[in-house]
């Protein structure tokens, strides 16, 4: 894709996407809505302290080159603009993976790890702490991917009152989360359906994450080829600053008001979850085979592993806040 000529009048470069052409061929081409996007914009270029005045605050943004419209997936709007009628919002929530609570999966070597079968899980959980390895395909996981939403600031205290004022009243609580994952490697998602995520006045945890169930997935090929998406419910994130020294910071990744949370485990696909010494072809095609425990940070034993690295995308369906989760799928050989 080249850049559009931005030396003269503003022009619109419009093309049909491959999906549009397909629908036209099928006789089902019907445009009923639109949405604007700003994927090329780097808002960090907004300089509200420009010495030449407000006319110059967004000068660099307005000079951003825009790429030509592409017909394939690269043209898809990744983020999109939000319609929020209030104009007085100063803060918006973002997403984080919670690695503070004992129920949460932790990164090992900057990635999360998912065992693709039971034999691998039992092997690795005997080598490293359970918090580093996700159990496959279970509704009763000891650890799970815990996703929190909240306001990432130290300027506003994480009280329940601020949660109400900054998130509830402003309509910025994500009640649903969308997980998007590579369907070649992951067959689906088990997500939290109910539970509790709070702290008590004395600072102790009041957390119960044990009602998981399988969620149906649908194709998300217009996002990334071979990707599927599944919707997970959320529960209120009521970890808050309470009486005394209780801040909740030991349980939550956010220091500002917290919104909602969800948790999920993942189901490896049948193409990669086979036990045995022979490596399934996907590991040769898309990953690595024969890695040692030392290479993976599991220890110094002689067991060999196959791995595939992938990314799971999580998005709040109210705020559009997004999170990328680097995930390593691990399979024990033999």
């Amino acid at each position: 894709m080249g850049f559009l000529d931005n030396s003269g009048d503003i022009i619109l470069d419009a093309v049909l996407t491959d999906t549009g052409r397909k629908r036209m061929a099928e006789g089902g081409f019907s445009i009923v809505k639109f949405s604007p996007g700003d994927d090329e914009i780097d808002y960090s270029l907004y300089n509200a302290n420009h010495p030449s005045g407000s006319a110059y605050y967004d000068l660099e943004i307005l000079q951003s080159p825009v790429m030509e419209a592409a017909t394939k997936r690269a043209s898809a709007i990744k983020y999109g603009l939000l319609s929020i009628s209030r104009t007085d919002l100063v803060y918006m929530p973002s997403l984080r993976t919670n690695q503070k609570i004992s129920d949460g999966l932790n990164k090992l070597g900057n990635v999360f790890h998912l065992a693709v079968n039971r034999a691998t899980y039992e092997n690795i959980s005997g080598l490293v702490d359970e918090k580093y390895i996700l159990e496959p395909n279970t509704n009763t996981p000891s650890k799970s991917l815990v996703i929190e939403s909240g306001i990432d600031t130290t300027q506003r205290t994480a009280t329940l009152e601020n949660r109400t004022a900054m998130l509830s009243e402003t309509g910025l609580l994500d009640s649903l989360y969308e997980f998007r994952f590579d369907s070649r490697f992951l067959a689906g998602l088990n997500s939290l359906q109910a539970g509790k995520f709070a702290n008590l006045a004395d600072g102790t945890r009041d957390i119960s994450l044990n009602a998981f169930s399988s969620r149906p997935s649908v194709g998300a090929g217009d996002f990334i080829e071979d990707y599927s998406s599944a919707i997970a419910n959320s529960i209120p994130n009521l970890v808050a600053k309470r009486d005394g020294d209780t801040t909740g910071n030991d349980l939550s990744e956010f220091t500002g008001p917290r919104g909602t949370m969800t948790a999920a485990t993942l189901i490896p696909s049948v193409e990669i979850n086979a036990e045995g010494s022979a490596s399934p072809s996907f590991y040769t095609l898309y990953g690595k085979t024969g890695l040692t425990e030392a290479q993976l940070g599991f220890g110094s034993g002689g067991t060999l592993y196959d791995t595939i690295d992938t990314t799971v995308y999580v998005r709040g369906l109210t705020t559009g806040a997004q999170l990328q989760i680097p995930l390593r799928l691990v399979r024990k050989q033999g």
Binding site: F29, S64, A76, G80
Partner: protein, 373 residues
Amino acid sequence: MPINYELIDATSDVATTRTLLHEVIPLTGTIVSGTYGVFPNDENIKNYSHGQFQSVYDYPFLSSSANHIFDLSVGYDETSARSGSASVQNKKKINMYNQMSQVLLGYTGSTNKVRLFESDLTLDESVSNVMREVFVINFSRLLTKDEIKKGSFSISVKTGSYFGPAAGYITGGAAVYSDATTTETQGTLNTVGGDYGVLSSSTDGVGGVVFYQAGIAFLTASAFSGNLGPTLGTIATVKAGGPSLQPVGFYSDGVKTWHTVDELLTGSSISGACDAVRQRIENISFNNTTEINSTIYFCRMPHNKFNYSSNPTYLSGGSIRVKNERRTNPPISYITTIGLYNSANELLAVAKLSEPLRKDPTNELTLRVRLDY
């Protein structure tokens, strides 16, 4: 994928338009003969084993870069004096004429006889106007697109005598036949094959006709009797009011130096006749026409929508950058893209702005997205 969409009202936000685009198509005679290889074995000329026509490309046709420009052929009606069992490829020349005629002019009479091409706009088979022998230039759709623009076609042909490859082959005059008197609304006759106009020259009379939608030009054999050409060797089928004399040396087949047009039509194969015509083409020029049907979607963004972004750079430490920590500052977003979706949220079309457009609560934007078909 976006979170928020705005509905498009099919009654007030969608409009359709039709636009005609024209491109100038100049074809020089040097492309038609002499540029690639040695005439008549030019590498951009493709002959077929069936021998019914010859294809002209803009580059050696074995290359994938070559584009088909037009096909050449020759034909005559079975009532022509050239028609006879002794004529080379007699049947194929008649077939070619009949095929063109039945597609472009249709049939007439109780016996459903194919019509004859005529050099005027009245299909009355007047003896003085019928064109029983024609050279056919069948342009590729790549060039003509939807149709040739009326009033834009001209063809310049050399009408002088042929002196053979060594001496340089054409001397004498050239005739420029055009449809300059034709306009979009007059000067044409509509037939089953579309509209056609007459190709004429103020000095050389009528040289043929051009069918605009079909993209086919016909030159009558007598088109080559230019004023400056040699004055020998007449053929019987001349147009009314045009010169009755033909250039003597129309073509050389290497055996006999001089062939008249008459001899060419009877004694040469179709491909040989095409070679002869090809080297006499000086220039062809016309404007093509592309009809573009467009749907315009008016994407209206009210003042209270799309002022915030889910772009990850929108926040800094949870704070909206463009607000600069002040509640009273307006939210601002910068639009670079418009996605058009169906009811299943599938992205059917996408439009890119050449530069970002500021959106805030003080303005409303209407972006006009045009999709061409």
